[in-house]
Amino acid sequence: MKKSRREFLKVAGITILGAGAGSLINGVSVLSAAESGRKPGLDFFKNSDALKAKRWGMAVDTRKLSDEICEKMQVSCHQLHNVPDFIKKFGKQEKRHEIKWIWETGFEHAFTGRENEFPRENLEDLPVVVTCNHCEKPPCVRACPTQATFKREDGIVMMDFHRCIGCRFCMAACPFGSRSFNFRDPRPAIYDRNPDFPTRTKGVVEKCNFCAERLAVGKLPACVEASEGALVFGDLEDPESDIRKLLAENYTIRRKPELGTNPSVFYII
Amino acid sequence: MVDIPKPEELIKKTDTPLPSKRWENIPADLSPGKFCYPTKQKSLEYLDLPTPGREWSPADEEWPLPENWQEIIHEGFKERLEKYRSLKVFMDICVRCGACADKCHFFIGTGDPKNMPVVRAELLRSIYRNDFTTAGKILGKIAGARKLTPAVIKEWFSYFYQCTECRRCSVFCPYGIDTAEITMMARELLTLVGLNINWILEPAANCFRTGNHLGIQPHAFKEMIDFYCDDIEEVTGIRIDPSFNRKGAEILFITPSGDYFADPGIYTMMGYLLLFEHIGLDYTLSTYASEGGNFGLFTSADMVKRLNAKMYIEAKRLGVKWILGGECGHMWRVIHQYMDTLNGPADFLEAPVSPITGTKFENAASTKMVHIMEFTADLIKHDKLKIDPSRNDNKVVTFHDGCNPSRGMGLLEEPRYVIKNVCNNFYEMPENTIREQTFCCGSGAGLNTEEIMELRMRGGLPRANAVKYVHDKFGVNLLACICAIDRASLPPLMNYWVPDVGVTGVHELVGNALVMDGEIERTSDLRFEPLNDETPEGNKGEADE
C-alpha cells in the first residue's frame, strides 16, 4: 500500500500543478484525506501458510518419469491454468499456435549440444519434461520492455498478463523455447475452465509460473503433485531442503548451462 | 515634406519591440508626416457630404466635430450593423488568435501594434461593445469596451487611413474577418462627421464632375490620347485613330485615368491601343465614363454607386454590346463585386463574346464587363496575335499581383499567361508574397499621397523586399502589375528600396511584343528605349533604364 500511495500522491501533485488553481483547493482536500487515512486498506501481507523460499527450484528425476506421468503432469497443469488446447479444438494445423507450460520432449531436443554418437541405451526414448527454467539470470526479463516479465524475490520468473504488450521479445530471448504467445483468443479452446485462475487475452505471452498462486496458499505446484515423485520442488538456497539433498546425492544436468542463465530446473538422467 | 530616413535605417526601425503600454493608452501620433491631409471644403460641398465647416489640420488639438457627433456616429454605426452582416459578425466573433497580426504590411513595416488587423478592428469593436452589447454595457473595460471620445476619433482617423483595404489578413483569418470591411465602415462613419482625406475626395469630386479622378476635361482627354498615338507612330510607323463617345461601337473600353495621365501608365495605354488596332476591334473610348477607378470605394458605398453609375449610363447611351475594362485593381473590386448589385441589372447589354475568337465570357454574363487580361489571354490562347517576345528580352520581369484582382476576384493565371507569352524572362517572387498572399504596394485605398511618404515606404516594404529578392537572385529589372495605383505607387517604392527595378503594366509588354501589320522595324520599345540584342539573363542587377 505504501508504495502505491506514494505513487498516487506523486501523480496527484503533478496534476494539481498542471490543472491550475481551479483544482487546487480540491487537490489539497484530497491530499489531506489521503494523509489522514480516510483511504482505507492498511496493508498487504503474505499469506501466513504460504510456502516461502529464497530461490525456488525443481529437480526432475527422469528415471521416475514415464509418458503417462508426463501426460498427467501436463494435463493437471494446463487444466489448472486454463491453457487452451488448440489442436484438440481446431485440429493439427493449429500446432504452430500451441500454448504449453510444461511438456514432454526427447533428450536430444531438451539437451541440444549434448548429442552423443553412442548414447546410453534408451536415452533416445527417455521422456524428458521441460518447462520454464526460472533462470537465475533470465534473458527474458532482461528483454522485456515493460517489466511484464519479472523475477520475484523467491526466484520465480513471473508474467504480468495485464502489462504484457505482446512484443514477443521474451520469446526470442528465451533459449529454451519455454514461452508461448496467444496468437488467438484462447477461450474457445479451454475445456473445463478453472474459474479460480484467469484465462489470458489474445496477444500476450504466457508460460509456467511455478504455480505461484498455489505456493501462496501452501500448496506445491500442480505438476509436482501429479508427478508421482518424479519432480522434487524446494528452496535451492536452503541446504536442508529435499531438493538440495537430492541434488547432493545425484549427478544432475541442466539445459544449456553454457549460456549462463543459470536455470533452476535440474535433471537427473 | 518631412524627411524620410534612408532605407538601411528605416528597415532597422521596423524591428521595434511592442510597447509596454496597452494600445488603449497610447494616443494616436498625429504629428506632421503621420497623417493625410483632410479634405478641402469645396470637394465635400461639391459631393454634398457633411463638412466640418472650416479648414483644419489633424495636428490641431481641437477638431471641428459637429455638436452631436457622438450621436451621429452611434446612429451611423447602428444603421450599418443592420445594413452589413459582415460588420455585425466581424464585431462579434473575433477570438484574437493573432493569426492576422503579422500579415499586414503596415504592421510589418511600422511595428505599430495598432496596425495589427486585430487591433485595428478592436478600435471599432471597443465602441461596438460599449454601445451595442450587454456584456460591454455591464462589464465595461473588462469586456473590452470603451467610451467614444475625441481621442478615439483621432485614433480612427489615424489608423483607418493607415489601412489599404488589401484584405491580406482576411486570407489568414479562420473566420475570414475582413479588415477592409471594417475600415470601409469606419471611413463611412468618419465621413458622417466630415472627417475624410483630400487625396480621396478631391479625385472623387473630380470624377463626379469630369468623369475621371484627375479632372481631365473631354477635349484634354482626346488630346492626350492623340499624343500617345503620335508616339506609337514614331515607334512602330502605324497610325492609330481611336474613336471617342462613338455610338454603335461594339465595345466600350474603360480604363483608369492613370493609364492616360502619367508615366508609366501611359505606355500601358499605348499597349491597349496597339492591341485593339492589331485585332481590329470595334471599340470606343468615352470621355464621360473616362475613369475605371472608383475612389468612392475608399469613402462609402453610396459614393461607389454614384461614381460607378457612369459606366452603365454611358454604355447604354452609346448602345455598345458590352464593356471591356483595363488593368486596374480597386476598379475591378468595384466592377466584380459591387457594380451589378449597385447599378445593374445591365439588361441593355449583351453577354460578352470576344468578336475575335468567339469565346463567351461566361463569368461576366451578368455584369457584362470583361477584364482585359481575360480578353488578351483568350486572344493569345487562340493564337490571334502575332507576337515577338524577344523584343522584351532587355527585360527580366516579375509580376506583382494587385490586392483586389487577387483577393477580390482571383485573377491570377491570366496575367501570368500573357506575360509568359510576351516575355522570355519571367520569374516569380517568393510564394508567400504573391497570388492570394500578395503584399500591397503600401499606397492603396487612397493613401498614395505625398505627405505620408515614410508610411508608404514602410507599408510597401514587404512588397519591395520580395522584389529585391528576385532582383538579387535572377536579375529582375522590371516589375509588372495590372493596377493603375500600383503603376503610380510602385515607382517611388522601387526607387526607394530597389532602385534598379522599373514598373510596367502588362499591356505595355504586350504592346512591345506585338508584330503589327505594316510596321517599321522597331528599334526602341514604347518608352523610346533601345531594344537590346543581347539578353541580359544572368546580368545581375542590370536595369532597363
Binding site: G20 | I11, R85
Partner: protein
Amino acid sequence: MNADYLSSLIAVVVLGLIAYAGVAMAGLNGFFGVFVPYLALVLFVIGFTRRVLGWAGSAVPFRIPTTCGQEKSLPWIKQAKIDNPSTKTGVVLRMFFEVLLFRSLFRNTRATLNENGRLSYKWVLWLWAFALMFHYCFLLVVLRHLRFFTEPVPGFVKMLEGVDGMLQIGLPVMRISGVLLLVAATLLLLRRILLPKVRYISRPADYFPLFLIIGIAGTGIFMRYFTKVDVVKIKELTMGLATFHPAMVQDGIGALFYSHLFLVSILLAYIPNSKLMHMGGVFLSPTRNLANNSRAVRHINPWNHPVKVHTYEEYEDDFREKMIEAGLPVEKE
C-alpha cells in the same frame, strides 16, 4: 505577471470555490445541481438564438468573398474550385474545409526580418495544430458526456468511448480526449502568455474562457482519476436534468462535481455573450460563405437605394463647347 490573465484565473478559481463551498458547507445541492444548470441552459438557448437571428437580420448587401485562388474564368484556366468557389457546391466544400479543418489557419506564416535584411515568412502550424486538437477533443469530450444524459447509452457514444479509451492506461481507463483537451487548452493559454504579439492583443475575455475550460477539464479529470466520485449517483442527477425530472437528493456525489457542473454552466451561459459565438459566426462570414460569381449572377442588395449621380446630360452641359471644339460628338448641338 499580467493583470488580465491573473484576474481571469482568479475569477475561475473563485467560481469553482463558490460551487464547492456552496455544496460542501451550505448544502446548496439543489441550487447548483438543478437550478443553475437549467438557468444556464435557458440563457444559452435564448442568447445563442438571439445572436444568430441578430446576424441573420442584417443584410448581406454585397458579394464579397475573399478569393484565395484562381477564379472561374476561361475554360482552359484551372479554377481553384474550393479556395475560389463559383458554385454552391464549391462554397459548401470551402466551408467544410474551413469549419472542420481550419483551412485558413493552415496557411499561417510568421514574418521575420532576417539579419541580411530579408523578410521571410516561415510556415507555422502550431496554432492550427493546437486549435484543431483543442476543438476536436472538446467535441469528443462533449459527446462522451452523453453517457450521463442518455439511458440506454447509444451505441455511437459507447464506440467513441471505446476508441477514446483505446490505450489501456490507468483505471478507470484514461480517455485520451480529456487529457489532450487539457493539454491543448494549456498550450493555447501558454501561447497567449508567452508570445509577445498574442499577449499584447489578449484581454480578460480571451483568458477567461481558456481558464474556464481548463478548469472544467481539470475538475473532470481530477474527479475521474483522483478523487473519484460516485458515477451512478451523478448520472441519476444528470438524467434527472435531461428528462426534466430533477432529482434533488444527492448525497455522496462530492462537492468537486458541483464545481465542475457550475463551471460548465458558466461556460454555457457565457457563450452567447462572448467571442465563443464564433462557433455560429464562422458559418455566416460573408467572405467565406459566398460564391465568387458576382459577375455571372447578379447579387441583390436589399437596401440598394437611389443616389444622386452626375448624368451625361449634366456632364455635356458642363463641357459641350469644349467637346464640340475638340470634335467630340455631342447629343445636343
